[in-house]
């Protein structure tokens, strides 16, 4: 933090929050390890345990940490100084969706980045956790991380004792890693040509059905979406779109193949196109040449899988001893509250309104901005110039924590008050 004055100011506001806000405690919190980082110290204070909510609250009010963490694991002795002496009992299943791990999110402005990550969280929840894997809403704790993303904690008893390897399998499931297209479109050999005694073996692929589960069903509906999308475009645009996607393919797929692929899919024979037959007859056998069929497979792989892949930070999920931010604590690099959310609340959640702690004050404060900034917080829009600006305290906390501004030293009356 830029200056002592800034640090003291932010600490005071944080203290107000910890004094007033009700703490959300994780279940079995007595068995969890806690860790803290402070504005004026570089190391993390960890291997701590709290027997009661009151004890933790007292600690937070007195020490006002910049970051508060607790372990997804619970231990027999959470405060043992060595990991192996803690005696691991179980751990929540955790998903960490952060802008760093969502394709195309890392370069967006902060507001849009959070919106993009939120979209991925909804997909993780609806398609995978509540969908395929069949968890109940009540098993899930959704949390805005206060920083660049969201966390999802799964507390279903059956998830608690999953090993690291088993958790990684779940990550691979969500991200579509190592998906076997020969499983999605099973190959069956059949004999095609006979020449004297020699039979040429050909292979047929079977189209997954819409009622199939897992990635089979997901790819089937992805194909349907892809076909609808291509049908909505002119022939020229559709071919350009196909070529664009196939550029990423390892194989070199030429114009002629794309023309052939397009004709196989959309040229009508007896009133029906290949796409129609795919959808209506559950067949994959609409291609006149093998290279068209292989190109379509690449297209599916790149486009359909690429589009619907879940995103999550893999090492976090498979780490069964990870520390994670405590819901209802504050994030020292944004001043946002780490907000617990239900699935319904997530839809309308706006961190720039809902994650500003109520306890932060409206009092005006002079801050010096490093450059001009435009942002909305609570229900107010701020257009700030480089140099000294007067803003409410809650906005000052956010700007200072993000290193966008500092307390203007020439006005210290607030601090001495």
């Amino acid at each position: 933090m830029a200056s002592d004055a800034s640090r003291i100011f932010v600490t005071k506001q944080f203290a107000l929050h910890y004094r007033d806000a009700p703490l959300t405690m994780p279940d079995r919190f007595g068995k969890r390890e806690f860790g803290f980082m402070f504005f004026d110290r570089r190391f993390m204070m960890r291997h701590m345990a709290f027997p009661s909510r009151a004890a933790l609250k007292k600690y937070l009010v007195e020490n006002v940490p910049a970051h508060v963490y607790y372990s997804t694991a619970y231990y027999e002795k959470p405060d043992a100084a060595k990991m192996k002496d803690k005696n691991w009992l179980a751990a929540d299943l955790l998903f960490d969706l952060d802008a760093d791990h969502v394709r195309g999110a890392e370069d967006l402005p902060y507001e849009q980045m959070l919106e993009r990550v939120k979209g991925e969280v909804k997909r993780l929840l609806d398609e995978f956790l509540l969908g395929d894997l069949g968890f109940e809403q009540t098993d899930l704790n959704i949390v805005f991380s206060g920083g660049r993303g969201y966390h999802v904690h799964v507390r279903s008893p059956k998830a608690l004792r999953l090993s690291s390897h088993e958790r990684r399998e779940i990550v691979d499931y969500v991200t579509g890693t190592d998906l076997d297209l020969d499983w999605v479109f099973p190959v069956t050999p059949f004999e095609q040509r006979r020449f004297r005694d020699r039979a040429g073996l050909e292979y047929k692929r079977t189209m997954p059905k819409s009622e199939d589960g897992g990635w089979r069903g997901r790819i089937r509906s992805g194909i349907e979406d892809l076909l609808v999308e291509l049908e909505s475009l002119s022939e020229e645009d559709a071919k350009a779109r196909i070529a664009d996607v196939l550029k990423e393919s390892k194989r070199d797929i030429g114009e002629k193949t794309i023309d052939g692929l397009y004709a196989d899919l959309f040229a009508k024979r007896r009133g029906r196109s290949g796409a129609d037959r795919m959808r209506e007859d559950d067949t994959y056998e609409v291609f006149s040449e093998k290279r068209h069929s292989e190109a379509f497979l690449s297209l599916v792989n790149l486009r359909v899988c690429g589009d619907v892949k879940g995103e999550t930070d893999e090492p976090v999920t498979s780490d069964v001893r990870r520390l994670i931010r405590l819901p209802s604590s504050l994030h020292g690099k944004t001043g946002f509250e780490v907000v617990p959310l239900t699935r319904d609340e997530l839809d309308s959640f706006d961190p720039f309104v809902d994650a500003i702690p109520r306890a932060f004050e409206e009092t005006s404060v002079d801050v010096r901005c490093n450059s001009s900034i435009s942002l909305g917080l609570r229900d107010q829009r701020f257009e700030l110039e480089e140099g000294v600006n007067q803003v409410p305290a809650y906005a000052a906390v956010h700007l200072i924590c993000r290193n966008l501004a500092s307390i203007d030293n020439s006005h210290t009356k607030y601090l001495s008050a």
Binding site: G131, G134, L162, E166, D172, Y173, D178, L179, D212, E314
Partner: protein, 402 residues
């Protein structure tokens, strides 16, 4: 003596366990699946004691069979299936199981407990598979289409249930909870068993009969591993001493046959593509993710490279920070943490996105670990005449030394 022996057998065979409680066990079934709790209860209710089992002449045959079970586990990693034609066969087969367990317990070798457990589980797999086959044949003979749940499958389901696996039915398919599936398939490395390649519906995974049996096999070996070694007293140790010694010797012979686990000189030409790439990236000063640095350090360490050599390998990189790197390396090699890490398996490398440019050897169904790649890549096809093999392996080591 023989009179006594016969009378024992008669006592055993005369009393069939009543099936009133819906149990699944008669003598022949118990003999085929002796790991079931009901089989153990059957023995208990017959009044068979461990002391009797190890010393009584009546159980001579059972003891021989018990030793065979263990020796077969040593030799073939599978207990050989013996036909159970008569009640006497059944009783001896059943009794041989606790004998085998005592022998394994006296041996007190943790690795061998695993091998033995897997060997027993494989036998159970073979027998369960046949239950289903036979049931299919029976229904075919009756000229009916096999019903969706044939009684062979029902039996396998009962065994699974007894082992603690809940099986449900989803859209007329057998299904298990995905967490159970993960737990009992985690030892199976094949790609077709990955969760991502399963038909998952609302938390359940659809499985066929073969997969069900494979899961049950895993549960059986898990159960046996968790049960062994049993506590054995001096009487048992003394009574079985000769047999245990024979098994120990066989085990040593078998272990000596196994290929050398030492990796020899580190040879970069044998590196899998992922490790080559990671090494290149580090040397070029590119930004390598933490998981990648971990993987390459653990890999080099496992091949026997010492920390200083690993450090100097890395020092070429542009943003090289010696003290930080040294700390990280020593952490992974166990000098600081006390835990020696091994490199991640292929599936983990894939999850972390650091499985680069897999080649044809990587893409083999059974390929699961970068070290396995390294081990196999170095091996020349077996030829007659050892000197040829010596020469070629030596020259390849020289060519690719780091």
């Amino acid at each position: 003596m023989y009179v006594k022996s016969n009378s024992q057998v008669i006592v055993l065979t005369a009393r069939f366990i009543s099936d009133a409680a819906g149990g699944i066990v008669d003598h022949k079934t118990a003999a085929r699946y002796p790991f079931l709790r009901e089989a153990a209860e059957l023995l208990k209710s017959e009044g068979v004691t461990l002391e009797g089992l190890i010393s009584d002449r009546a159980y001579e045959r059972a003891r021989t069979l018990g030793k065979d079970r263990v020796l077969e586990a040593v030799e073939f990693a599978k207990v050989v299936e013996r036909p159970i034609a008569t009640e006497t066969d059944a009783v001896n087969e059943l009794l041989s199981y606790p004998v085998a367990r005592m022998l394994v317990s006296c041996l007190g070798d943790e690795k061998f407990v695993h091998r033995y457990a897997i060997a027993e589980a494989k036998l159970a797999n073979a027998r369960l598979s046949r239950e289903i086959e036979r049931a299919k044949e029976r229904s075919a003979k009756r000229g009916r289409m096999p019903p969706s749940g044939n009684d062979g499958v029902d039996f396998v389901m009962k065994v699974a249930d007894e082992l603690g696996l809940e099986i449900s039915s989803v859209d007329d398919f057998l299904a298990v909870d995905f967490t159970d599936f993960l737990r009992f398939s985690s030892a199976i490395k094949s790609r077709s068993w990955k969760l991502v390649n399963q038909d998952v519906r609302n938390g359940k995974i659809l499985i066929n009969e073969g997969r069900l049996i494979r899961l049950v096999e895993q549960m059986i070996s898990d159960r046996i591993i968790s049960e062994l070694p049993l506590p054995v007293n001096d009487t048992i140790i003394q009574a079985l001493a000769d047999d245990v010694e024979e098994i120990r010797q066989q085990l040593e012979v078998k272990r000596a046959e196994r290929p050398e686990r030492d990796f020899g000189r580190v040879s970069i030409v044998r590196f899998p593509p992922c490790m080559k790439k990671l090494l290149e990236m580090i040397r070029a000063g590119e930004n390598v993710p933490h998981t990648g640095r971990f993987a390459i350090v653990a890999f080099l360490h496992t091949l026997g490279m010492d920390s200083d050599t690993i450090l100097s390998t890395f020092s070429a990189s542009a943003d090289f920070d010696e003290s930080k790197s040294r700390y990280q390396i020593q952490h992974i090699t166990g000098e600081i943490s006390g835990t020696e890490y091994t490199p991640p398996e292929c599936s983990t490398m894939k999850s972390y996105g650091i499985c680069y440019d897999p080649d044809s050897l990587c893409n083999k169904e059974w390929m699961g670990h970068p070290l396995k790649y390294y081990r196999l890549k170095g091996r020349r096809p077996r030829k007659r005449g050892d000197d040829v093999k010596e020469e070629s392996s030596r020259s390849s080591a020289r060519a690719g030394r780091l």
